[in-house]
């Protein structure tokens, strides 16, 4: 079957390389341009405005602090200090997505001064130690030394928490937002290379707490491929909430994590 098409003859055919654009086209194109810019601007505003709260974590990398306290390498590198008023546990990390356990071991269980920049999100704190050699210096014990070196360990009972596993560093302030699937790869890298994982369960007000995850005996959770695959996914975990000094931890059997 042969068919015939008769294109509608237009008065002024637009020819791109011609110096003049026909008048009717010029008017239409001007309107299209205005529409594109205005429509795009409106869409941009709506898309920006609807974003979820990224969380209040902060990290001022320019402010380098010297923090005195008692240094612990297990289950995760941390320093217990009175530098911020009262006894406070401050987790330790490097400037990158790596833990500092290997660099800390020589002073594990001693009093020391650590230099770094602070990440803070509510009661959660972490110190990212500076990269140069003098980040760690031994010191003498301070007045509250017993409380710093021997924190009270108190069980708050068993619980089943629903939420997600995330890395403490990003959530404490290195990134905003630092949760959910978009951040999964990053959280998994952080945990793989030694940063403490935390179980984040949202309270009714939306701003939950992140409980540092340990094994049932309070040890370091080995970042196996199976464990890492669950990071940032919606999960349910049974465990025991244990307060170590002021640091809330969640003692779990890593094999008991269930995706929901």
């Amino acid at each position: 079957m042969t068919r015939l098409i008769r294109p509608k003859p237009e008065k002024d055919l637009f020819i791109g390389w011609a110096a003049d654009t026909p008048k009717v086209d010029r008017r239409f194109l001007f309107a299209a341009a205005v529409g594109l810019v205005a429509g795009g601007g409106g869409a941009a505003w709506a898309l920006a405005d609807a974003q979820s709260a990224p969380g209040p974590g902060v990290w001022d990398q320019g402010l380098i602090l010297d923090v005195d306290g008692y240094v612990v390498a297990d289950p995760y590198p941390l320093i217990r200090t009175t530098a911020f008023g009262g006894v406070k546990t401050v987790l330790l990390s490097s400037m990158t997505k790596c833990g500092v356990r290997d660099r800390l071991e020589r002073l594990d269980g001693t009093f020391a001064r650590i230099r770094g920049s602070l990440m803070q999100r509510g009661p959660h704190s972490m110190l990212a130690v500076v990269d140069d050699g003098d980040w760690l210096t031994p010191t003498q014990g301070a007045a509250a030394s017993a409380e710093l070196s021997n924190p009270q360990v108190r069980s708050l009972g068993r619980a089943t928490l629903r939420g997600e596993i995330l890395d403490t560093k990003c959530w404490y302030g290195a990134m905003r937002p630092a949760d959910g699937k978009v951040h999964k790869a990053c959280a998994s890298l952080c945990i793989r290379f030694g940063l403490p994982p935390a179980m984040f369960a949202k309270a009714a007000d939306g701003e939950g707490r992140a409980l540092v995850m340990t094994t049932p005996d309070g040890g370091f959770v080995t970042p196996t491929e199976v464990f890492l695959a669950h990071v940032a996914d919606p999960v349910e975990v049974d465990g025991e909430i244990v307060l170590v000094g002021d640091l809330p931890t969640f003692r779990v059997q890593p094999t008991s994590i269930r995706r929901v």
């Binding site: 795009g40 505003w45 920006a48 990224p54």
Partner: protein, 352 residues
């Protein structure tokens, strides 16, 4: 046209086109970033890098919608045709925005560790077996590779050397890239955000584009069926020469689907292939300008009597034998090799 490749053959229209496009991109990104900062109190805004990441991603994805809408819109109404003319600059801009988004994401989310950033990109989320948990990053990578190949081959050099068929096929992959990006956003950001706006916006964009393509497709099918032409001793009856407006054409769709553009000009009739050598534009919807068949898409030109672009250009299209009998135009459905001279048929009485 192919002779003497330049980076861009600038015309006043192209410059205006690019200026408007860059203003639109700038306005979009600025409003998104300012809006993002204003939504949350100081210290609780998105991290600047993550805000920039989103701004780049959203701008690229929105611009891709515009790029994809131009095709069907210009088929619906000729008024949109000028937007087609410099669409490639919009495509290249889309790629560059997407590329910046990808580089930033790679450094921010996959960098700063002991693992290779690309290995992390593919393996940090191993849930390939899940739909909800599927690694959206890999989908973004696939789309970026396609956008790269399209942007990299957008120059006329590639059109000429890959051949219009292969070039067109390569560029049709934009629909694969678009589908991958819909999934990339839906399984990534839209899943992370509480507001359903993102899912609705992506879904709405997809419905809009699919509807636009369907409507134009159906309209063209209906239009193609509008008129029939009868065969006559192996020659095809194309109707009265008087029914072809001067300087314009009718398009004959042959049995195999091949299309022939039959032009009337200066009291003569010539028939050439309807397919432009450049990007397969419909020559029959164009016109005769300065004695040459001129493509409505990008202004490529051919001599109506031999299908050759005027020197120094070297493009050639097939021609068809043509005759006029009692004011009725007939064409021979067998195409001559590209660039074969054919004596134009003279329309009786027109010479006077």
């Amino acid at each position: 046209m192919a002779h003497g490749y330049q980076v861009v053959t600038w015309t006043p229209f192209k410059k205006a086109y690019d200026v408007v496009m860059l203003i639109a991109v700038g306005v979009f990104m600025t409003i998104f970033i300012v809006g993002g900062y204003m939504t949350w109190p100081d210290g609780e805004t998105l991290h600047p890098v993550q805000l920039a990441l989103r701004a780049l991603g959203f701008t690229a994805f929105t611009l891709l919608h515009v790029v994809l809408a131009i095709g069907p819109l210009s088929r619906m109404s000729p008024r949109f045709k000028p937007l087609l003319y410099n669409r490639r600059h919009m495509g290249v801009t889309t790629f560059l925005l997407a590329f910046a988004h990808a580089v930033l994401a790679l450094l921010w989310y996959h960098g700063f560790s002991e693992m290779n950033v690309f290995v992390s990109l593919f393996a940090s989320n191993p849930n390939y077996g899940s739909i909800q948990g599927f690694p959206f990053e890999s989908l973004g990578f696939v789309a970026l590779v396609i956008l790269f190949l399209m942007a990299a081959t957008s120059h006329d050099f590639w059109n000429a050397n890959l051949g219009p068929g292969f070039w067109k096929a390569l560029h049709m992959l934009v629909y694969v890239a678009y589908a991958a990006l819909v999934a990339h956003v839906m399984l990534g950001l839209a899943q992370n955000e509480k507001s359903p706006l993102y899912a609705y916006a992506v879904g709405g964009g997809a419905v809009f584009l699919v509807a636009l393509h369907l409507i134009t497709g159906v309209r063209e099918c209906v239009r193609d069926r509008a008129l029939g032409a009868a065969a006559h001793d192996g020659w095809i009856d194309v109707g009265s020469a008087a029914d072809i407006p001067d300087g314009r054409a009718v398009i004959v769709v042959l049995k195999g689907g091949e299309r022939v553009a039959v032009f009337r000009y200066d009291g003569k009739v010539s028939a050439v292939s309807n397919v432009c050598r450049h990007q397969a534009g419909p020559l029959g919807e164009g016109c005769i300008k300065d004695g040459l068949v001129t493509c409505p898409w990008h202004g490529f030109q051919y001599r109506p009597d031999d299908g050759r672009s005027p020197p120094p250009f070297t493009e050639r299209i097939p021609t068809y034998n043509v005759k006029v009998d009692n004011g009725v135009v007939f064409i021979d459905p067998v195409a001559n090799p590209a660039g074969t001279p054919v004596e134009p048929a003279v329309v009786a009485g027109a010479a006077a």
